[in-house]
Amino acid sequence: MTAILEFQNVSRSFKSGVPVLNGVTFAMAEGEVLGLLGRNGAGKTTLIRIAMGMLFPHQGGVRVFGLSPTDEPVAVKKRIGYVAEDQILPVGSNIADLISLHRYLFPSWDQALERQLLDRFRLSRSSKIKQLSKGQARQAALVCAVCHRPDLLILDEPAGGLDPAARREFLETSIQLLNREGTAILFSSHHMTDVERLGGRIVLLDDGKVRLDRQLDQIHEDHCVAMIPRRGIVPAAAIESLPGCLRVRPVFDDWHAVFQGAPDAVHRQLQQSLAIDGIRCVSVPLEELFVELVGNDRPVEVA
C-alpha cells in the first residue's frame, strides 16, 4: 500500500496538559475513502488542519504524498481539495472571481466538471458571495475544491448546511465520481447516513486517540452491543478486561458494552465468563455503535 496521508503518533494540545490529540496513528492509501468520526471536540478538525499544514503537531509527524505539509505546503496543497468545517468564502467577490482564482492556482482545472457542478447546484457565476445562502456558499466551496481533480480531497463536515437532496446528490455523484477516478477522500462527519453512503473505512477519534479503525463493512459484521444487567454486580473493569471489548458504559440498569465479534459468539463468551443471566447481544446500526463507543460514560439513571 502506498500511503498518501500518514499520521505518526500525532499529539497536539491547545491548553497545556489538555491534549486534543494524543498519539494518533493511521495512514490512508491512494484512492481510499476514510471517514473521520468523533464527538464534538474529539480533534477531527485539528487533525485535518494538521494534515493541511495549518497547525503544527506538538509531537509526532504527518506526511502527505510523502511530503511534510508544513515544509512544502504549496506542493502538497496543489494536489489537495479542501473544504473547511466553517468555510467562509471571501466576501466582495462573486463565484466567477472565485473560480478564476482557482483556475489560476490549479493548472489541472476541469472546466467541464465545473460547468456540470454549477448546473447541478444551480449556482450562477455572477452570484455575489455575500448574497449566497449558507448551503449555496458550501456548494460553491465544494465546486472549488473538486474541479481541479485533486489526488486527495479533504472535507471537514462536507455536507453541513446542505439540504438532504443537495447532500445526497453531492455525495453520490460528485464525490463518488471523483473516487471512482482514483481520488482519495478524507472526510469528517456527524451524519452517519453520509458515512454509510460513502462507505470505505472509519476512524473513530475519542479522548484524543484512535478508538476504532475498521472498514465499514467489517464494523457492521464484526461488532455488537452487549447489554449486561448491572444488578449482577459485575464491575465495569471485569467486562472491559474481556477479549474483544472496546468500551463499557452504564445505561439505566444495564452495562452497555461494545464487543468485536458476532452477537452469538460474544453472547456465549459472556455467559461463560460472567455467569449471570439476562445478557443480550445485538447488532446495531452505525449510529448506535457510535453512541455506544463515544457516548457519555457516566451512569444514566432514572430521576
Binding site: 497545556s16 493541511m52 495549518m54 497547525l55 503544527f56 506538538h58 508544513t70 505546503p73 504549496v74 506542493a75 502538497v76 496543497k77 496543489k78 489537495i80 479542501y82 473544504v83 473547511a84 466553517d86 468555510q87 467562509i88 468564502l89 471571501p90 466576501v91 466582495g92 467577490s93 462573486n94 466567477a96 472571481d97 472565485l98 478564476s100 482564482l101 482557482h102 483556475r103 489560476y104 492556482l105 490549479f106 472546466q111 457565476r125 455572477s126 466551496a141
Partner: protein, 513 residues
C-alpha cells in the same frame, strides 16, 4: 434586574470593551509620560482612526445578541458604554494622576478633546451601523468621517492634507469597493485578472485602506518615537482567512502581501519627507542667546539653526559645561529648555554656542564645527550662503542620509512584523498566549514609554544621531552604501520569513463574524 443594571451587564460582556480598554490605557500612559511632546497627538489621531475602522468592520449585533430577551436600545447603549466607558474612566484617572503629580488643571484640555473625539467617533459610527436603510447608513458614515476630518483639522491644521487623506482615501476606496462596476467576464480572458480580486480582499481587509495613508504619514513625519505605532497596523499579520490558507499559495507571498501596505507607503512617505520638513521643525526650543556677533558681522545666516538632536543634555541642577577652543578661549552656553505645548521638559545646551564676549576667531571656529556637523563639511558664513543658494542641504536631508533613514525605518517595521509573527509562533507555545499577545504592540510601546520616562532627550535624539553616525561609517560610494544597507536587511527578512513559515494563524472569519 432593572433595565440599567441589565445594560451594564451587557456592556461588560461586549467584546468592544477590550479595544476601548486598550486605547484608554494607552492614552493614560501617553498623558503621564509623553504629554509635553507631539507623540501625544498620535493617540488622538491613530487611536480613533483605528477605532472607526474597527467599529465599521464589526457587524452591528450578532444573532445571539439579538435572540436575547433584551430591547434594541439596551443593546445599543451597552455597545456605546462598552466602547466609551473604559476610555472615559482611563482618561479621568490619567488626569487625576497628572494633577496629583503637581501639574496644572490646564493639562486636562487635551484629554477632554481626546475623549470628545472618541465619543463622537463611537456614537456616529454606532448610529451608522444601526441604520435601517442603506441611505441612512451612508449619511451617518459620512457624518462620522466629516466629524473626524474637522476634528483632525482642529487638532493639527498644519498636517491637514495628510490627515485628511488618511480619512478620505478609505472612504473613496470603500465606495469604490461597493460600487465598482463588474468586470467583463469571458472564458477566454487571462485567468489571473479576476483571480486577484478575491485574493486581495482576503489579504487586504478594508482596514488596510486606513493603514496605507497612516503608514505614509509616519514616513513623512519621520518621527522615530511614532514608529512603534505601526505595530497596530501589523496586528492582522497573524490573522488570516482560513479559505486562503487552504490554497496553494506560499506563506512567503502571503507575508509580503500583508507587509506591503505598511512598508511601501512608509518608504514613499520617507522619500518625500525632506520636502515637508527641515531640521528647523524639531528645533523647537527657547534660546535666550542673542548670538550678537553673528548678527553684527554677518546678519542672520540662513540654514544654521542647530537641530535639537545635536544639542547636549546635562544635569538639571548644574550649569552647562564651558566650551573651550584649542587656543584656550571659551564660552559659557546658556541653558536652553526643550518645550512643547507650554510644559517644560529637559535642559539642554547648544554645543556650538557663541557668546557676545567671544572673538571672531571663536565664532568662526564654532561656525565651522557646526556646519561640518550639519552640512557635512566646514564653511564660513559667506561660503555657506553661496552653497545654500546652490542647493546645499543638511546631511540629514541629503540622499545618502535619506537612504540610511529609509533602511533604518524598514528595519524597525520588519522588527515589529517579526514581533507580531513571534506572538503566534508555534515554537513559543510554552509562553502563555496572553503574554505572547503583548509582543506586537505593547512591548514596543512599553519600551518607548520607559525610554521616554528615563531618558526623554535620548529618545528624541538617539536615532538621528545614530543615523548620522551610521552614515559616516558606511562606504562613501552611494551605490555600495545602498547595497550594504540592503544586505543588512537580509537577515531580518530571513528571520521574519522563517518565523512566518511556522506561525499558526488565527481565524479571521471568526474574528469578524
Amino acid at each position: 434586574m432593572n433595565a440599567l443594571a441589565l445594560t451594564l451587564v451587557l456592556a461588560w460582556r461586549d467584546p468592544a470593551r477590550n479595544l476601548a480598554l486598550m486605547i484608554g490605557l494607552f492614552a493614560v500612559l501617553i498623558f503621564i509620560v509623553l504629554a509635553p511632546y507631539a507623540g501625544f497627538w498620535v493617540t488622538l489621531l491613530i487611536g480613533p482612526a483605528f477605532l472607526i475602522s474597527t467599529n465599521l468592520s464589526v457587524p452591528t449585533f450578532s444573532a445571539f445578541e439579538r435572540s436575547m430577551p433584551v430591547t434594541v436600545p439596551q443593546l445599543v447603549w451597552s455597545r456605546v458604554l462598552a466602547s466609551l466607558g473604559p476610555i472615559w474612566i482611563s482618561l479621568l484617572l490619567g488626569v487625576l494622576l497628572m494633577l496629583l503629580t503637581g501639574q496644572q488643571l490646564s493639562v486636562a484640555r487635551q484629554p477632554v478633546e481626546c475623549a470628545a473625539f472618541f465619543t463622537a467617533a463611537v456614537c456616529l459610527t454606532t448610529l451608522a451601523r444601526l441604520s435601517a436603510t442603506r441611505m441612512t447608513e451612508r449619511i451617518w458614515s459620512l457624518l462620522a468621517l466629516a466629524a473626524a476630518i474637522l476634528t483632525l483639522l482642529y487638532l493639527t491644521p498644519t498636517a491637514a492634507f495628510i490627515l485628511t487623506s488618511a480619512v478620505l482615501v478609505p472612504v473613496a476606496a470603500k465606495f469604490w469597493w461597493t460600487y465598482a462596476p463588474e468586470w467583463e467576464r469571458h472564458d477566454t480572458r487571462p485567468a489571473v485578472g479576476n483571480a486577484l480580486r478575491p485574493l486581495l480582499r482576503m489579504v487586504w481587509p478594508w482596514r488596510t485602506l486606513v493603514i496605507i495613508p497612516l503608514a505614509a504619514w509616519l514616513g513623512l513625519d519621520s518621527s522615530w518615537s511614532l514608529l512603534p505605532f505601526a505595530g497596530l497596523f501589523l496586528g492582522h499579520l497573524t490573522v488570516q482567512h482560513p479559505y486562503l490558507l487552504g490554497l496553494p499559495i506560499s506563506r512567503r507571498h502571503i507575508l509580503w502581501a500583508i507587509l506591503a501596505p505598511v512598508i511601501v507607503p512608509y518608504l514613499i512617505g520617507s522619500a518625500f519627507s525632506p520636502r515637508f520638513q527641515g531640521p528647523d521643525r524639531i528645533a523647537n526650543f527657547t534660546q535666550p542667546s542673542p548670538k550678537s556677533s553673528w548678527r553684527e558681522f554677518y546678519g542672520n545666516p540662513p540654514g544654521l539653526t542647530v537641530p535639537l538632536y545635536y544639542f547636549q543634555t546635562y544635569e538639571t541642577q548644574q550649569t552647562p559645561p564651558r566650551i573651550v577652543a584649542p587656543w584656550g578661549e571659551s564660552a559659557q552656553p546658556t541653558p536652553s529648555t526643550a518645550t512643547y505645548n507650554g510644559g517644560s521638559y529637559q535642559v539642554t545646551y547648544d554645543p556650538y554656542w557663541v557668546g557676545p564676549e567671544n572673538t571672531d576667531r571663536f565664532f568662526e571656529w564654532q561656525f565651522a564645527r557646526a556646519t561640518r556637523t550639519i552640512y557635512g563639511k566646514p564653511f564660513t558664513p559667506p561660503q555657506l550662503r553661496v552653497a545654500l543658494r546652490a542647493g546645499l542641504r543638511p546631511v540629514t536631508e541629503q540622499p545618502r542620509a535619506q537612504v540610511v533613514r529609509m533602511a533604518f525605518g524598514t528595519a524597525l517595521l520588519l522588527t515589529l512584523g517579526l514581533l507580531s509573527a513571534l506572538s503566534n509562533w508555534y515554537r513559543l507555545r510554552a509562553v502563555p498566549r496572553r503574554l505572547r499577545a503583548l509582543l506586537p504592540f505593547w512591548l514596543p510601546m512599553i519600551a518607548l514609554i520607559v525610554a521616554a520616562t528615563l531618558a526623554p532627550m535620548l529618545l528624541l535624539t538617539f536615532v538621528p544621531r545614530l543615523l548620522v553616525g551610521l552614515s559616516a561609517l558606511l562606504p562613501s560610494n552611494f551605490a555600495l552604501m545602498t547595497l550594504v544597507l540592503l544586505a543588512a536587511l537580509v537577515p531580518l527578512c530571513w528571520a521574519l520569513e522563517t518565523v512566518f513559515q511556522e506561525i499558526e494563524f488565527s481565524d479571521k472569519s471568526k474574528e469578524t463574524a
